[in-house]
Subunit: 586 residues, 2 copies
Amino acid sequence: MTIFNLTRRYFPILTWGAEYSRSTFTNDLIVAGIVTVMLIPQSLAYAMLAGLPPEVGLYASMAPLILYAIFGTSRTLAVGPVAVASLMTAAAVGQLASPGTPEYYGAAVALAMVSGLLLLAMGLLRLGFLANFLSHPVISGFITASGIQIAASQLAPVLGIQAHGENFLDLMQSILPNFEHINPYTATIGLSSLIFLFWVRRGLKPLLLKFGLAERSADLLAKTGPIAAIAAATLSVWGLGLTEHGVKIVGTVPQGFPELAMPTVDLALWATILVPALLISIVGYVESISVALTLAAKRRQRIDPDQELIALGMANVGSAISGGFPVTGGFSRSVVNFDAGAETPAAGAFTAIGIAFATLFLTPLLYFLPNATLAATIIVAVLSLVDIGALKRTYTYSKTDFTAMAATITLTLVEGVEAGLLAGVSLSIFLHLYRTSKPHIAVVGQLPGAMTFRNVNRHVVVTDPEILSLRIDASLYFPNARFIEDYINQSVADSPEIRHVILECPAVNTIDFSALETLEAINYRLKDGGITLHLSEVKGPVMDGLQKSHFLHELTGKVHLTQFDAVSSINSSLAQHTLEAHKENH
Amino acid sequence: MTIFNLTRRYFPILTWGAEYSRSTFTNDLIVAGIVTVMLIPQSLAYAMLAGLPPEVGLYASMAPLILYAIFGTSRTLAVGPVAVASLMTAAAVGQLASPGTPEYYGAAVALAMVSGLLLLAMGLLRLGFLANFLSHPVISGFITASGIQIAASQLAPVLGIQAHGENFLDLMQSILPNFEHINPYTATIGLSSLIFLFWVRRGLKPLLLKFGLAERSADLLAKTGPIAAIAAATLSVWGLGLTEHGVKIVGTVPQGFPELAMPTVDLALWATILVPALLISIVGYVESISVALTLAAKRRQRIDPDQELIALGMANVGSAISGGFPVTGGFSRSVVNFDAGAETPAAGAFTAIGIAFATLFLTPLLYFLPNATLAATIIVAVLSLVDIGALKRTYTYSKTDFTAMAATITLTLVEGVEAGLLAGVSLSIFLHLYRTSKPHIAVVGQLPGAMTFRNVNRHVVVTDPEILSLRIDASLYFPNARFIEDYINQSVADSPEIRHVILECPAVNTIDFSALETLEAINYRLKDGGITLHLSEVKGPVMDGLQKSHFLHELTGKVHLTQFDAVSSINSSLAQHTLEAHKENH
């Protein structure tokens, strides 16, 4: 690969930037305006969910967007703070410090840094495949459980009571006894925000359509609901002086930019947060890449999964340097970006400028914004993550997958996000290792009158009691080599009449050194028992490999072109032997 | 399964015991005599290697043999202390206490206990497949490195100097500066034992054969070499009063049986030794099962891998209860047992009785046995484990496997046994996950004039630019689902003329829920791009599964019986469309 190509691969901005036109610019600018308006309350709310000061949400919505615009391969993905990553941040950092302390904030920034470095390393080493080991049932179960837990955690601010807990059980035990301490003013604001936001989600769009608005405009207008709720709630608190009645508000949000600073390289702290950082990275990556792929498919655009790791890595490192917390590509904001008509990642960069403007000039407007309304926007946002139907669909399709999903949900709710996710991933990898260690092997026989061989359990075929023909439907490598060895040993021990074993290898794409030694052992042991071993239909590259070893010299039988050849040649040599034995007797 | 069958499965003694005859009894008794003589010096030597008092080696050679006779499925496997497990015991326990202290001994006993419980659990849960993830190159590299390290560690006692170290590097740094402190008396005994034992191994058997002995007798007699060396060395030390010149001897070995006692359930200690115990269990199991399989094949006997886990687990628990340390099925002693003609596991039980007799009455004879001679027997035994040729064979066959092997050897020698083994296993699992996440996908085309489809890269075939035909050579599940998704996305993004994608699925044995959702996503995204998705050659059970989902309703194309049908039906519907378009134009 030339340096030119390499540069283009690692800096996708060079590709789309070269074609950037004035009309695209105008379009991206309009999109950025819409997304900015939507992003401000979301950023504040997710910072609150992570246990951080509201301005940190704004900080995490500037540098990451610009860096993603430079390094990302999706034209429409919008990065920033998201619900699940914020919950995971709170869970990880909460074990190290108390919310509100500088240590807590420092740990959240370090988490973004380590998470970013991990993503970068995975991208440069092309380890994106590791994310595959988060299976769909596990990630879906995890997101459902996280959604339930986030909603539960926001119930307290909506009602104006105190509650805390690392998992759903703890939260509920903490909330229920406090129901008598509900603040009626806070609860009124919180519940009416909640009802309004639900109505916006369900009822506003049909209403706007009925009033003759175009589909796309109705969609976008309905998405500004949170801004309307926030404006109304802020005005009420200010106008009615509700802070005197104990309604909690956002208060002073520092104006101006964060100081850019490399987070201190505190290796002890980094080691402590390594596992949570890895989990946040992988969950964030999985969410982000699936959104990117879905949106790219609509316009037949390309996504480079490894470059996406680099882009998300840079975005998180950028977030850490500018005082933010972990970010990733979010579903709802990317869809808004896409629906609003974003054509290039420049829309993201312009959004960052919009947020910067808000951070500089608009934060005083947020002073009287009640926490209850922010909590309500979170609840409405995360309930769309809860997908109970997926449990049923998974159960109908596969009991194994359902088990992994149920275990993830249960452990997440009972023990917390890290325990749930780790259990799910471990279970998935374990099931995968188990499955690949037991390859499919079919005893085959000849279809009468044909030269083809088929599974004896599925077809009426001809077999010879002296010949055991096995078709191996997998590559041979260390995880499954012993299974094949055991299978042959048991078959031969069970049928004393067997004199020949033929392995039909049309599906064997590779034979690694462990499997080669296993084949040698099988050959050697069969020889001890007076049985010859043959192979048939060995693929070209596999045969090339075998020729580099001693196996072919030691093989008691032969390598035949087809299974039919193998059986015929054994039968004819048997006939030969019988003939010779017959002659000797005479 | 009936209770009767279950009992027979878990107690193989019921099967062979039912056929036990007087002649088998006599035979097994003779075998036991031979094996006992060979086992005594080995047991003492391996206890010394593990840093334990010599009698612990005897304790580990009684109860485990009897328990294996009850639970084991191999007729000829001989369990007891082995070199590699003893080295691993020393490495694990050495981190917790100093050799010679009661804590050290207690930890070694606990290690046998935990290792036994782990093996039992793996056997009852049928997790034997986990041992497969120790690939051949890793285990072979590990055993070679262990052999080198054990030999190095025994150099000091052979020469009568002090040395210690957790790995080969440390050992060498500890031995080399002490060369001036060599004790000439110890070194004379040690080196002459070494030379004698090497000669016995190489030269004695041919000599005996020349004197007219039968092959088998010569073999067995040659194996008594260590006993002769020990007798000669002991007599010399006693006769020449060499202890006064600083020659270290075994000294008082307590007579009589160990006290049977459950080791204290010290969960904190057990947690500390969990990883080493797991590694010892798995390495021991792999060694044991491969010996068992090799010997069983010679007589076409059956080995049940899961029951072997239970038998080795019981043997280790038994060892712990009777004050012994970790044991497993050893190669050299099993071969002696087999060559001597052992017919049933009763030979092992009778060997245990022989060792018990020795423990009761013969230990005073061991008082003047010099440590240097025991060390020499260890060096001779372990050098046969070192297989440098395997490095070359692996390198020739596969660079990937060679890398795993070289990494294991290097880390074992430089860092120690646990680091080396863990690195090897992690690397193997990582490579496995990587490999299974990238399944083989072939773009296929039609062989001219035939109904079959083949890889476009290997055959001259006919393809249609509007149809992308892909043969997927693997089951579809979560580790590889995303790869297939990416592959299709990139292919479609690269070739704008594609209108149909056909997945040929003859090698797809299962589709898990992750892969099902991925197929749904592929179908949905292709639909967005105006492309239909078809499947062909879907296996019966897979089709049954798909019918339980909504996928078939949403599929934009069809499921065809064969790839040929798929292409024909697409072409005919294309022709239909063209015809209709043609008609409309007129």
